[in-house]
């Protein structure tokens, strides 16, 4: 057992940090300081910079662009991106559909998609949830019926993040409605968003923004060659996807970045007595979050280390701890920021218009904070709610 970061690992961290400092475009750097963080252009540009460097998909097999880094290196890398902050490599591409293609795609699929996923030439989104199938994913109803060399897809997906920016969607569809178990009879398709019959309707969320969508499929023709793996085995690939690459799932760097932001802002604002940054309760809250992050960070490394030695592609139920605690701490930091901003968090973005081009830059600092807090409530809902994570721990870890 060796508990400290090695000199090599610390050197690697410095290398990543220096690379970011040198290569992050000015526009992305500026947008990192406000919410919502980045434009599509920021995200695409940065991923291409990483791809050029060979760092776009560190955890993929080397023949497809992976770096063969250790789990600790991968962790250091993603956390440095979050901490800077930089745009993150698009998770749909690099953490979700990419590894599924690497593991289960045929050669033609790999050749066509993998380079485009890496370089963000194609932007994917994820079509899993349906109106009647949220936490209960297996009850999905979108159907795909064979018709010659195609499937005819009908149905509806919901909570599809960034569908309005996406070129393709990877979707779970029901290919055998008569399968004996609900988890059977599901297939995993890649669908071109420009195909006739695909419609995207934005869902406005309470942060006054457009992140998520409904996606409707009305007799959409999807070539059978766009199915990944075997027909009716889609649930296995989805489980693989959900269990795969949880390196960044705890999002420690993101929480640290927010905490730092809250501290900076607190220096300018008053508390009941004195500066907020000197307020005992504020400092204690920051110290509590730092303590939680330290515990979480070491837990992440322990899980990664175990995964390395486990050599098993099924998801480790211990990652539920990372998702659950990571989400709770993210919410704490979003709350902390919103608490710091206080009444200054109230105005919607329309306040800019009221100033007619004369908007004071200091006001930018607090402008996105409350919608960000609102949006943070989703962290314990999406990707398996915290209730689901606790169910998993109780059943899969504790055997209850």
């Amino acid at each position: 057992m060796e508990l400290a970061f090695s000199a090599e690992e610390l050197g690697f961290r410095d290398e990543v940090r220096a690379f970011i400092a040198k290569n992050l475009p000015a526009s992305a750097k500026a947008n990192g300081g406000r919410w919502p963080h980045w434009s599509k252009d920021d995200i695409v540009t940065w991923q291409r910079i990483l791809n050029k460097k060979g760092w776009a998909v560190p955890h993929w097999p080397e023949e497809h662009g992976g770096t063969n880094w250790s789990a600790v290196q991968r962790y250091i890398f993603i956390e440095e991106l979050l901490l800077a902050p930089t745009p993150e490599p698009l998770s749909f591409n690099v953490n979700m559909v990419g590894p599924v293609l690497c593991a289960f795609g045929n050669e033609a699929q790999k050749d066509f998609f993998l380079p485009k996923l890496r370089n963000l030439d194609l932007w994917f989104c994820q079509g899993f949830s349906e109106p009647g199938a949220g936490s209960d994913l297996a009850s999905l109803r979108t159907s795909a019926v064979r018709d010659g060399d195609d499937y005819i897809v009908n149905g509806q997906k919901i909570w599809t993040s960034m569908a309005h920016r996406a070129d393709w969607i990877f979707a779970l569809v029901r290919t055998d409605p008569n399968a004996p178990k609900r988890q059977m009879g599901i297939s995993f398709l890649l669908i071109d968003m420009t195909a006739p019959g695909v419609t995207v309707r934005g869902i406005k969320t309470i942060d006054d923004a457009h992140h998520v969508n409904e996606v409707f499929f009305d007799n959409v023709r999807v070539p059978i060659s766009n199915r990944i793996g075997e027909e009716n085995k889609g649930w296995d690939y989805a489980k693989f996807l959900l269990g795969n690459e949880r390196t960044g799932i705890a999002r420690v760097g993101l929480s640290r970045e927010r905490l730092n932001r809250a501290k900076r802002l607190a220096e300018k604002l008053p508390a009941f007595n004195g500066a907020l940054a000197d307020d005992p309760q504020f400092r204690r809250k920051c110290a509590t979050i730092e303590m939680q992050l330290k515990s979480l960070e070491i837990t992440v490394m322990r899980v990664l280390d175990r995964q390395r030695r486990r050599n098993d592609s099924t998801p480790d139920p211990a990652t539920s701890v990372l998702k659950m605690r990571g989400a709770e701490i993210q919410q704490s930091t979003a709350e902390l920021l919103a608490d710091v901003a206080g009444p200054m968090a109230a105005p919607t973005d329309a306040v800019r218009a009221a100033y007619e081009g004369d908007f004071p830059t200091e006001l930018e600092e607090t402008l996105g904070i409350i919608p960000h807090y609102f949006n943070s409530r989703a962290a314990t809902i999406y990707g398996g709610s915290n209730e689901i994570q606790r169910n998993i721990i109780a059943k899969a870890v504790l055997g209850l």
Binding site: I203, F272, Q281, P347, A354, A378, I381, Y382
Partner: protein
């Protein structure tokens, strides 16, 4: 002690409940928000007709002499309906400032106008760097041969863009963090040198940033005694606390009701999610939080008129802290129980969560009031 409503109070409750039920569902409210003004003059006239706009003012000031219980009844219903009209700004904040500090003639003039729905007030006190610290006033008013010259900026003034009459705090002596040396002024919104930048806020209400650039006021603009406005400002904010406390109870009860309803109807894994014990218990915790808020809102109503400033300060800080704790618990749990749809604009729960979140940040948050309470000698 007696918690039963009198017949008159029950009538008032029926009247405001009917108004909300008949004319203020989420659809109607959505239409109001989409209008240019962002609030409804028609509803405002109805509030005047029903006597709600003059409710707290005494008969000699042109009002109806309602007490704290009557006010609580109204505010709770407004909370349930997510009312976006400038009632808090005009009647509660502006109204109490005038009631507490103005001469009898001024009271009749201004409050009479408010009661009839002709006048809209706003209380322009907070500044960009003051956060919740009431004594931190950087705007200045300088005496100038009988007149006053006002300079400075006020931010996130509640319904500041709607008001015709602004009540503005400014420093007339002392340093920016002194309690002494603050004065209040009545400033018509259309006075030369006043620039109002109005905008919507996340709760469907509206705010404004208002700058005063060498605004010249005559001597009668002064509200109350020069340099001695701090206790008035504190008391106005306490009236705000009592009002949002009652409003919160309406918001929270509605949030609880719709969450319970959702638990009963939404199915997952083949059964209503309300059968899952952890969700039942979360709803039970929401219920407890609502009950605690309801109790403390009653306390706030009971104590907002208390003559002893120290007892009142402790009570109102206790109330606002509890309201903040309950609001966060109920708002966040309501969203969580709704799952994904909880954070969409289409469902009601998100709107309640947003208003509750804003109330947390009005008139001091939990930490502010806890720090105030911790600084007091406890009642032992």
């Amino acid at each position: 002690m007696d918690f039963e409503l009198s017949n008159e109070q029950q009538l008032l409750k029926d009247s405001v409940d009917r108004l909300i039920a008949d004319r203020y569902d989420l659809r109607a409210r959505g239409k109001i928000l989409e209008s240019d003004a962002g609030w409804s003059r028609e509803i405002w006239s109805t509030l005047a007709d029903l006597g709600f706009l003059g409710l707290p003012f005494s008969a000699e000031d042109g009002g109806f002499g309602g007490g704290p219980v009557e006010q609580m009844i109204i505010q709770e219903a407004f909370g349930r309906g997510l009312l976006v009209e400038p009632y808090l700004a005009t009647v509660i904040l502006g109204g109490s400032a005038i009631t507490l500090a103005a001469s009898p003639e001024r009271r009749v003039e201004i409050l009479g106008g408010v009661t009839e729905g002709r006048r809209l007030l706003a209380f322009a006190h907070g500044e960009r760097l003051s956060r919740y610290r009431l004594r931190q006033v950087a705007a200045t008013a300088r005496g100038d041969s009988g007149d006053w010259v006002l300079d400075g900026e006020k931010t996130t003034v509640i319904h500041g863009g709607e008001a015709d009459t602004l009540i503005v705090s400014a420093r007339t002596s002392g340093g920016k963090d002194d309690e002494d040396g603050i004065s209040l002024f009545v400033v018509p919104a259309n006075t030369a040198g006043v620039t109002v930048r109005a905008y919507p806020t996340f709760d469907g209400m509206r705010g404004a940033d208002i700058t005063f650039a060498s605004v010249t006021l005559t001597s009668d603009a002064l509200l109350g005694e020069a340099d001695k406005a701090y206790p008035v400002i504190e008391h106005v904010e306490q009236h705000g606390i009592a009002a949002v406390a009652a409003e919160s109870v309406g918001l929270m009860q509605a949030a609880l009701d719709m969450s319970v309803e959702y638990l009963k109807t939404r199915t997952q894994f083949g059964r209503p999610i309300g059968e899952f014990q952890v969700l039942q218990h979360r709803a039970a915790d929401m219920y407890v939080a609502v009950e605690e808020a309801r109790s403390i809102a009653i306390h706030a109503a009971m104590m907002v008129g208390e003559a002893d400033p120290a007892a009142r300060r402790q009570a109102m800080a206790t109330a606002k802290a509890q309201i903040g704790v309950s609001a966060r618990e109920v708002g966040q749990s309501g969203v969580q129980l709704h799952g994904g749809i909880g954070i969409t604009e289409e469902y009601a729960i998100g709107h309640y969560f947003k208003r509750l979140s804003m109330i947390e940040r009005q008139f001091g948050d939990v930490e502010h009031h806890m720090a105030l309470l911790a600084s007091l000698e406890g009642p032992g």
